[in-house]
């Protein structure tokens, strides 16, 4: 029963997003443009770019995910359907999980696919690019999940976007540290297994902890 609800909500959100392609393309285009700004800032020297590449890609991934998350619940909240979902008696945890999953599919997954291209732009080694892709694959869901908690807390507020960034970014810093750190480990010929394990642990923690927290936050914000 809960799984059917989960699928129904996810399918609804995917269908709604499909009707507005700009919402899908905007984060990944921003990702590409922002990351491409760095060579203009620090100079095109390949040695420098190789060193900062993983960090730049990760910071831009973080910022583009946060760009898209602010409006996660906004459209449902503004037309009253979120309140109806709350009143319906169905599990809000399922709603939060479904929304986070769809957000990741539409924002995080394109970043994972675009990551290798940016890795090439920064002249990273093929091992480095592969590790970067793994870290993005493990880390972007965490960003979507933590962002959904922040989006639920800041629902309907005037200062929305910047406030969301302020409260969610400090919590996402560990993902950034271990994601970029895994690629740095590759560059000094250490196995990235430790970093990837911790990223996996953060993902499990987020999967278990974030949907209930987001559900509680929705009840606080809407009720």
């Amino acid at each position: 029963m809960k799984f059917n609800g989960f699928l129904a909500l996810a399918a609804r959100d995917l269908r709604l997003a499909w009707r507005r392609p700009v919402d899908i393309w905007l984060p990944v285009v921003f990702f590409g443009v922002a990351a491409s700004l760095f060579p203009f800032g620090v100079g095109p020297e390949p040695q420098t770019l190789r060193q900062i590449g993983a960090g730049v890609v990760w910071v831009c991934a973080l910022l583009s995910t946060m760009l898209a998350i602010a409006t996660l619940y906004a459209s449902d909240y503004s037309d009253g359907s979120l309140e109806q979902m709350l009143l319906s008696g169905h599990s809000m945890v399922v709603l939060a999980a479904a929304k986070a999953l769809v957000h990741w599919m539409l924002t995080g997954l394109p970043l994972v696919l675009a990551g290798p291209l940016l890795g090439l732009l920064f002249d990273m080694s093929s091992n480095g690019i592969a590790t970067l892709t793994y870290t993005l694959l493990l880390g972007t869901p965490v960003l979507s999940l933590m962002g959904s908690v922040g989006a639920a807390l800041t629902l309907g507020l005037r200062s929305g976007g910047a406030l969301l960034l302020l409260i969610v970014l400090p919590l996402c810093i560990p993902v950034l540290i271990f994601g970029a750190g895994a690629v740095s480990a590759i560059d000094v010929a250490i196995s990235p297994a430790g970093h990837l394990s911790i990223l996996g642990a953060l993902l499990l923690l987020a999967l278990v902890g974030a949907p209930p927290a987001a559900a509680a936050a929705l009840r606080i914000s809407v009720a």
Binding site: S159, I167, P170, I177, S221
Partner: protein, 252 residues
């Protein structure tokens, strides 16, 4: 008026207001007294350190403020959670009052740490685990303050802040154990619950006196701020109106 005290006696704003009004001068007194004695001991009685010379003496401000920054965050999260769980508005008011003081102590810890780091490590700042996690703690405090100040509905603001504070509370053990989990430039723990302290007894005494001073100061200033928040929120209550009318006025 019943003279029996029970667990929730001082959850009532007027009773808390009266009690805190009585305690604040004493807390300031303790803070100033222990602070003066602690600083005197620290700067004139404690011996010069074998490796760091006299530059180490900033420890008497750095360590107490760092301890307070972590403790105050946990206390803030705790009271905010109590306010959320029991719908106790005074608990949420105390949590809101704690946040700026906690942020201040975090800034002091980071600042005095930088002043210590320059002569001893050669750098104002390094991105090691302890410093980075303490900086994240500052961001968490600022995020909490920003969130509760951005929401106009006080009940929603209190509960949203409680959730945020609880989520961020996981950072405090990370700060504490960072020197054990990572290979950091910041020195490890010199004081533990299970072993003898690795510092001279006069140094330890001074540090503990300064800790008491910071704690008493934190209590005093948080009580002052809470009283202000209580008056603001309960301004339509009879007891506040009576306070405003009385000739003796409001004692801070």
């Amino acid at each position: 008026m019943s003279r029996h005290f029970h667990f929730f006696t001082f959850a009532s704003p007027p009773r808390f207001y009266a009690l805190s009004g009585f305690l604040i001068p004493w807390l300031y007194f303790v803070a100033v007294l222990t602070g003066l004695i602690g600083l005197y001991f620290g700067f004139f009685v404690a011996p010069t350190d074998a490796t760091q010379g006299d530059a180490y003496r900033i420890i008497f401000i750095h360590v107490p403020t760092a301890w307070m920054s972590m403790v105050l965050y946990l206390v803030m999260a705790g009271w905010a959670a109590v306010g959320w769980a029991f719908n106790a508005r005074l608990a949420s008011m105390v949590a809101r009052a704690l946040a700026p003081t906690g942020a201040l102590f975090t800034v002091l810890a980071l600042w005095t740490g930088a002043l210590w780091g320059k002569p001893t490590w050669g750098a104002w700042w390094v991105w090691d685990a302890r410093l980075t996690s303490e900086l994240i703690l500052l961001f968490l405090y600022l995020g909490y303050i920003a969130l509760v100040e951005s929401i106009d509905d006080t009940r929603r603001a209190d509960h949203a802040g409680a959730l945020l504070a609880l989520v961020g509370a996981v950072n405090v053990p990370v700060i504490y154990f960072s020197v054990r989990w990572w290979n950091t430039l910041h020195q490890g723990a010199s004081i533990s619950m299970t072993a003898a302290p690795k510092m001279a007894s006069t140094m330890l005494t001074s540090m503990l006196l300064m800790t008491v001073a910071c704690w008493a100061y934190a209590f005093a200033i948080v009580f002052v701020r809470t009283r202000a928040i209580v008056l603001e929120r309960e301004r339509d209550a009879d007891w506040v109106l009576a306070l405003g009318r009385s000739r003796s006025g409001v004692n801070v």
